[in-house]
């Protein structure tokens, strides 16, 4: 292993960790969150997440069948007709920016956050 190899590895590691932190920061602190379900790149349904919400969404397209469960703020894929079931293994999502992707069936579930009050966190003089 040469010096440049080590430099490359450390560089990639640092850049990745920084971007994970930035993504994590950008995806927190929201009042309301929405679950958006996309099929084939088009918005299929949108739910405003609420703790009393209890919904089971069944999507049947020519690509396959998916069943998504929305329970309170948590969204998860409970059934899918795809081969590898990666979408089910992605577990429960609840934070803004998190996704569940089912590539074979072209289904994407993502959580969108919105601030209802104001766009400013604090104002200092």
């Amino acid at each position: 292993m040469t010096k440049c190899d080590k430099f490359l590895i450390i560089l990639v590691l640092i850049v990745s960790i920084i971007s994970i932190i930035i993504i994590g920061k950008a995806t927190s602190n929201y009042d309301t969150t929405y679950a958006e379900i996309y099929v084939d790149g088009n918005l299929y349904k949108k739910y405003s997440l609420d703790k009393n919400l209890n919904e089971v969404v069944t999507i049947e397209t020519k690509h396959g069948k998916n069943i998504i469960e929305i329970e309170g703020y948590n969204v998860r894929m409970i059934e899918s007709s795809c081969i590898n079931k990666l979408c089910i293994k992605q577990g429960t999502i609840h934070k803004q920016g998190q996704l569940i992707v089912c590539l074979p069936n072209k289904v994407v579930v993502q959580i969108i956050g919105k601030n209802s009050s104001s766009d400013l966190d604090t104002i200092s003089y």
Partner: protein, 172 residues
Amino acid sequence: MDRTKKYTFLALLTTGALALSAIESMIPLPFIAPGAKLGLANMVILSVLVVFGFRSALYVSILRCFLFLMIAGNPIGFIYSLSGGISSVIVMFVVFKHLSKFFSLIGVSVFGAITYNTAQIAAASIILENLNIFTYLPVMSIMSLFTGCFIGYVSIFIVRYLKDIVKNNKRG
């Protein structure tokens, strides 16, 4: 090594890469990000790139994707592995040809792994028409650091033996 021998050898190596991808799909990995895998087939492709050159590596890579499509029967996965395979061979070739003064095979392999993941995610975002998939990229690149180092380290040994075999064949 004459042409027939070379093609036979490349066919054998393609079969090796194919067998490695088949074995890899049976190894259970902890779920980190969708599509994260070991990339064992890259071991063969990197060795072919070093020993036989760019064109052979590209052929082996494309053939492996086609044949694996027939084994796995997953056309969507085929698009991702093809886009990743082609672009990673190109990047590995450029790095190996022009930057091998600085990088050993480990560095070349890390470059290849990162390119593979980036191309795969780009293909996924085009197909799903969703740019948010790129948020998986940092996690995937950390994964590809580990697999890339491992694959590169193994390739160093494979290349040593392959070169011996090719040389001996020339003499006999």
